[in-house]
C-alpha cells in the first residue's frame, strides 16, 4: 500500500535527475561567464523568487493579483530605510526586518483582498499597491521621492559580517558573492514553496481554486486559507524585493508602480502558471528578454507586447507548460 501511495506523489528520482545538473551548472557558471552575465542571472533568480510567491496565489489558489509590486517594493524600501536611517549594512538584518514588514503589510492587505475573488480581488490588490506607490512618491523627504534611496554595496555585509566589500575594485567580488548568496536563498525558497504546494495546505488551496463551494463542503475554511496563501505569497515577493536592493543599488517608486506588478504577471504567464517551475523559467527568460529588448530598440515595450500577444495566442500554457506537454506526447510514443 505504501508503494502504491507514493506513486501519486512527484517522483523524487526524476526531480533530482533534473535539478542536480542545473544546480551544478549554476554553481560553476561564474567561472565561465563575465560579471555582467552573472549580474543578469542574479536579477533573474531574484525575480524567480517573486514569481514563485506570486504563483502561489495565481496558479495554486486561483487569485490574480495585480498588486504584487507592493510587496516587492515594501521589501526593497524596508532594506533601503534600514540602510539610510539606521546605518544597517547586514543583509541578514535586511532580510529579517524586511520580511517582518512585508509579512505584516501582506497580512493586512490580504485580510481586505481575500474577501473578494476574480476581478474584484485584482482591482483591490492594484488599488492597495497604488496607495504605497503614492506614499513613496509624495513623502519625498522620507523616501527620496523619484530620486529614490541609495543602498551602496560597499556598506553591505553578508553572513553576519563574514563577507564585506570594503576597499577598491570590490564590485566583481560583490557580484560573485552576491550571486551565490541569492542562489542559495533561491534554492531554499524553491524547496520551501515546493513543500507548501505539495502539503495538505497546498492541496486545499488547489481545491479552493478548482471548486470553492465543494471545498467549503469538505470543511475547508476558504477565506482563512486564502489569507494565509496571500501572506506567504507577499512574503516571498517581499524577500525578492529585499534581495534586489543591494544588487540594484537604488530603489525608486517605480518598483511600487503598477507596471511592475504587470511584469510579475507577465513572467509567470510566460513560464506557465499551471506548473511549479513555470514562474522560475519565466522570470529568468523575461529578465533577459527585457534587458536585450531595451538594449536593441527604443520601442522595447512594443516588442514585449508582441511577445505577450503571441504567448497568449500560441502558448497559453507558457514555456514550461508547452514543453511538458510535448515531453508527455513524446513519452507516449
Amino acid at each position: 500500500m505504501q508503494n502504491d501511495a507514493s506513486r501519486t506523489g512527484p517522483s523524487m528520482l526524476l526531480i533530482l535527475a533534473c535539478v542536480i545538473p542545473i544546480l551544478v551548472v549554476l554553481v560553476a557558471l561564474p567561472k565561465f561567464v563575465d560579471t555582467y552575465q552573472i549580474q543578469l542571472l542574479t536579477y533573474g533568480l531574484i525575480y524567480a523568487i517573486a514569481g514563485l510567491g506570486f504563483n502561489l496565489l495565481l496558479g495554486y489558489t486561483g487569485l490574480l493579483s495585480f498588486g504584487h509590486s507592493a510587496y516587492f517594493g515594501l521589501g526593497a524600501y524596508s532594506a533601503a530605510f534600514m540602510a539610510k536611517y539606521f546605518g544597517v549594512g547586514s543583509m541578514e538584518i535586511y532580510i529579517l526586518g524586511g520580511l517582518l514588514i512585508t509579512g505584516l503589510v501582506s497580512a493586512a492587505f490580504g485580510y481586505i483582498c481575500v474577501r473578494h475573488t476574480r476581478i474584484f480581488f485584482g482591482i483591490l490588490t492594484l488599488a492597495l499597491s497604488q496607495v504605497l506607490w503614492t506614499l513613496a512618491y509624495k513623502f519625498f523627504w522620507v523616501t527620496g521621492g523619484t530620486d529614490g534611496l541609495r543602498v551602496p554595496f560597499a556598506n553591505l555585509t553578508l553572513l553576519g559580517g563574514l563577507i564585506d566589500f570594503k576597499g577598491r575594485d570590490t564590485y566583481q567580488a560583490f557580484t560573485q558573492s552576491y550571486y551565490y548568496y541569492v542562489l542559495f536563498l533561491f534554492c531554499i525558497c524553491t524547496v520551501f514553496m515546493w513543500v507548501i504546494v505539495h502539503s495538505p495546505f497546498g492541496k486545499a488551496l488547489q481545491a479552493i481554486r478548482d471548486n470553492e463551494t465543494r471545498a467549503q463542503f469538505l470543511g475547508v475554511r476558504i477565506r482563512h486559507y486564502r489569507w494565509f496563501a496571500f501572506l506567504l505569497s507577499g512574503s516571498f515577493t517581499g524577500l525578492a524585493g529585499i534581495l534586489w536592493v543591494p544588487l540594484n543599488g537604488l530603489v525608486t517608486p517605480d518598483i511600487l508602480y503598477w507596471p511592475f506588478s504587470g511584469e510579475i504577471v507577465f513572467m509567470t504567464v510566460l513560464g506557465g502558471f499551471r506548473t511549479f517551475t513555470g514562474p522560475i523559467v519565466g522570470a529568468v527568460v523575461f529578465n533577459y528578454l527585457k534587458v536585450y529588448a531595451v538594449a536593441s530598440t527604443a520601442y522595447w515595450q512594443l516588442l514585449l507586447g508582441v511577445v505577450l500577444v503571441v504567448l497568449v495566442l500560441a502558448l497559453p500554457t507558457g514555456i514550461v507548460g508547452t514543453l511538458s506537454r510535448l515531453f508527455g506526447k513524446f513519452r507516449k510514443r
Partner: protein
C-alpha cells in the same frame, strides 16, 4: 433517537415558497428518500439543512443541538456531508487527491503547509480504501475531469463519505447515468452507507430505486411534505401516484404503459 429535526422550516424566493413550513425528522441509521416532482423543494430543503442557503424561519436541530445559524464548515464538522445534483469535484486534481483532501480536512490537517501530503501513508491508505469501496481503484491517478459520468457521480459521493459523516445527503446520485450503471452505483452506495451505519437522505426520481433502497419515503410537493411512510405505504398511496406519475390505481408504480 432523532438525528435531524427541522421545525417549521421556511425558505422563500420571492413569491415561490420553495420550502414551506417543513417539519421533518430523520432517525439515526435511517435511509430516507426524498421524492417529488421538479420544483417540489427537495434540493432547496437539502441546501438549507446543509447551510448552502439560510432559512427564512424555522429551526434545524442536529443531534438535539440548534444548528440553524451555523456555517457550512461548522455543519461539516458536526457531521453533515452532502453530494451534489450537478457533480461538484476538484477537476484538476486526481481521484486520489480528491479523496485525500476530504480525509485531510476531516483530520484537521489541511492547515499544515510544512509536510508532504503524499508521505502521509495513513491518509493514503485510507484514501485507497475509500476508492476501493466505490470501485474507483483503477481511476486513482486520473484527473476528476477525465472520469466518466458514472464514475464522477461515485467520486462525488466518495468525497462526502470520506468525511465520515453522521448524516449524508445525496442529491440525485444516479442522474445522467445509464440505467445499467444506475443499479451498480446505487448498490455501491447502499452497501457503503448501510455497512457503516450512516444515516442517508437521498433525492431521487427513479421510483424503482427509491422503493428498492429506502426505509422511508418522504414525498414533497410545492415546498411542503405531502406524505411519508414505508415504501409499501407510498406505493399504495393514490395521491402520491397521481402527483408523481399522473395516474393512479393499485399497480400504478409497476405498470409499464
Amino acid at each position: 433517537m432523532n438525528l435531524l429535526e427541522t421545525i417549521n422550516l421556511k425558505k422563500y424566493f420571492g413569491e415561490t415558497h420553495a420550502v414551506d413550513n417543513v417539519s421533518l425528522t430523520i432517525a439515526e441509521r435511517e435511509f430516507v428518500s426524498l421524492v417529488g416532482p421538479n420544483g417540489a423543494g427537495k434540493t432547496t430543503l437539502v441546501n438549507v439543512v446543509s447551510a448552502l442557503f439560510r432559512s427564512d424561519s424555522g429551526k434545524i436541530l442536529f443531534k438535539g443541538d440548534d444548528i440553524t445559524h451555523t456555517s457550512v464548515t461548522e455543519r461539516v464538522k458536526a457531521g453533515i456531508a452532502r453530494s451534489f445534483q450537478i457533480v461538484n469535484l476538484f477537476d484538476d486534481l486526481t481521484a486520489f487527491d480528491n479523496v485525500t483532501l476530504a480525509i485531510f480536512s476531516r483530520q484537521g490537517k489541511t492547515g499544515n503547509p510544512a509536510t508532504l501530503a503524499h508521505l502521509d501513508h495513513e491518509v493514503s491508505a485510507e484514501a485507497d480504501a475509500v476508492l476501493a469501496q466505490f470501485n474507483l481503484t483503477s481511476k486513482r491517478k486520473e484527473h476528476a475531469r477525465d472520469l466518466a459520468q458514472g464514475e464522477r457521480k461515485l467520486l462525488d459521493v466518495a468525497l462526502a463519505y470520506a468525511l465520515k459523516p453522521k448524516l449524508l445527503f445525496l442529491d440525485e446520485p444516479t442522474s445522467g447515468v445509464s440505467t445499467r450503471d444506475k443499479g451498480q452505483i446505487m448498490d455501491t452506495i447502499a452497501s457503503v452507507v448501510r455497512g457503516e451505519g450512516i444515516t442517508a437522505v437521498i433525492i431521487e426520481h427513479d421510483m424503482d430505486v427509491v422503493f428498492k433502497y429506502s426505509d422511508r419515503i418522504v414525498v414533497m410537493q410545492q415546498g411542503a411534505i405531502l406524505a411519508q411512510g414505508t415504501p409499501d405505504a407510498i406505493r399504495n398511496n393514490d395521491q402520491v401516484a397521481m402527483i408523481l406519475l399522473g395516474t393512479s390505481g393499485p399497480d400504478a408504480f409497476t405498470r409499464k404503459d
